[in-house]
Amino acid sequence: MPQEASLREAYGKTLVELGRKNPDIVVLDADLSRSTMTHLFAREFPERFFDCGIAEQNMVSIAAGLAASGKIPFASTFAVFVPGRCFDQLRMSIAQPGLNVKLVVTHGGITVGEDGTSHHSIADLSLICSLPGFTVIVPADAIEAAQAIRVAAASYGPFYIRLCRPKIPLVYTDDYRFSLGKAITMRQGRDATIIAIGVMVAAALEAADNLKQEGIDCCVLNMSTLKPIDEAAIIKAAADTGAIVTAEEHLEHGGLGSMVAQIVARHQPVPMEFVAIKDTYAKSGKAAELLQRYGLTAKDIEQAVHKVTRVKNSFT
């Protein structure tokens, strides 16, 4: 078993580190600071931490006002509440004016688990990517999360970074350097490409290893910058491997799969499959059980690869 680590904890620790270096970093939360780990920052910098209570709309527009006055606000809550609960505030207070607000949300996707439907965030990426102005990042592990947060702090403009609740396997080592807007090639391969984000990157690697045993050679891309998406990497993957599978802990429409499909359809049409949540809400259960129930495992990716390669091979 690979080593596991918490992305939320990486976030909290990175915030403290950033706060020590830059007095303009301020942090907001909506009564979830122990879950989002912003309490680590609050403990060290109480005067720069603003708990807004259970009022996400207010928090988002306050963050905008802070950014308009030269601060670098990080605002956090669960992914199901931002953007879902304050979409219009994100649109008018932050995205349209292009203000320097960093939304780092935790508890993305369905690996929230037992809390169930009300707390599963299955549409957040679709919502946030629909707003012109946001840079959207879905890190694949704790190391990439820390890197992405540093890059967001150093880059002007609105960011949305989606983290998950559980500890997940590390797919990188400490020497990894996140590069904004660039897909990361995790495995080279010629038969098909798996493009994954977040918790699905580790699953994609596992699937690629299993498929290798069967003689299917998969390229694996981590598309951690979901927006602006690395169009060139997608076109190249389509041209090089002739088949693409996307994998995301999100609804099938509006997220990674839709965005990749649009680029593939326009520039380099190839067979595609989509490993994602179908048009439904998930229920309570353990994270691993839910991933299995809603079709988000390495096995699901393997089946999808079999499907696309069959279609691809039927052309020749």
Binding site: A55, N58, S61, I62, G65, L66, R91, P97
Partner: protein, 289 residues
């Protein structure tokens, strides 16, 4: 108010001083703003004259008597901030900014035209002097809290003024913000409510009753001041009084008349979001001579 004793006395002196200097001139400015609002919306053929006219004296007092600002350096970091939360009354703000010299008065006639930087609702990315992209109601007070918190953190002296509509206070976010501003003890924040009593569908009391309005703000922890929102000396006094409130936000509930200054627009909700026709512009301009 913790320090009302000596403070209030100073307040009266300051108000007298400001009044003796400028009330008459401010009255003339107010009339010019009204004429701009009518001609701009008339030329554009759309826009929101009613709520622009009701807040003329409020905005005049701020820009021509109170705010420390620099039209040559709109983003001067120590400027007092005026945040227009009721973004549909952009014509009023544009008129005031042009009169201050943020941009040429001739630009006012481009309101709402393609490629004009005078957008239908305020847009901070294009118009010099505009602090916030507003128009989707209810966000300005929260935004103002962020600006006020930043000023306090940086030990900057600037004060933050935010203008809300009374109808806007139907929005739940306004009350989230009202709670937060008091919680954060923002003595550098002043909200003004243009209390003209009307919203698009009619009188507030029929559409969504806000009463008891002043008690709501009090209950949320605000220092409440009520004035006749068309009376310049009263407004000056109110703003000076608000300056003396420490560690608590202040709200000025300005009682106004929607469409103020133009007989057929006064208290007429039809002119919330409808421009005057050419004939109506002519009549209005005569009334505003």
């Amino acid at each position: 108010m913790p320090d009302s004793g000596d403070g209030l006395k100073a307040n009266v002196n300051a108000a007298v001083e400001a009044r003796s200097l400028s009330v008459k001139e401010m009255g003339a400015v107010a009339k010019r703003l009204r004429r701009h609002i009518i001609s701009m919306t008339g030329k554009a053929g759309s826009g929101h004259p009613g709520g622009s006219l009701s807040a003329v004296e409020i905005v005049t007092t701020l820009y021509f008597g109170l705010l420390r600002h620099n039209p040559k350096d709109p983003r001067w970091s120590d400027r007092d901030r005026f945040i227009l939360s009721k973004g549909h009354t952009a014509p009023l703000l544009y008129a005031a900014l042009a009169e201050c010299g943020y941009f040429p008065l001739e630009k006012l006639s481009t309101l709402r035209q393609l490629d004009s930087y005078l957008q239908g609702h305020t847009d901070r990315t294009v118009t010099p002097g505009v602090e916030m992209s507003a128009g989707s109601l209810g966000q300005g007070l929260s935004f103002a809290i962020g600006v006020a918190l930043a000023g306090r953190l940086s030990s900057q002296e600037y004060r933050v003024y935010v203008l809300l509509g009374d109808g806007e206070c139907d929005e739940g976010q306004v009350w989230e913000a009202a709670m937060a501003a008091a919680h954060f003890k923002l003595g550098n924040l002043v909200a003004i409510v243009d209390n003209n009593g009307q919203q698009i569908d009619g009188w507030n009391r029929d559409v969504m009753n806000l009463d008891p309005f002043n008690k709501k703000w009090q209950a949320f922890g605000w220092h409440v001041i009520e004035v006749d929102g068309h009376n310049l000396p009263q407004l000056i006094d109110a703003f000076n009084q608000a300056k003396l409130v420490k560690r608590q936000p202040a709200v000025i509930i300005a009682h106004t008349i929607k469409g103020k200054g133009v007989s057929f627009m006064e208290n007429n909700p039809d002119f919330h979001g409808k421009a005057p026709t050419a004939a109506e512009v002519e009549i209005a301009m005569k009334e505003l001579e």
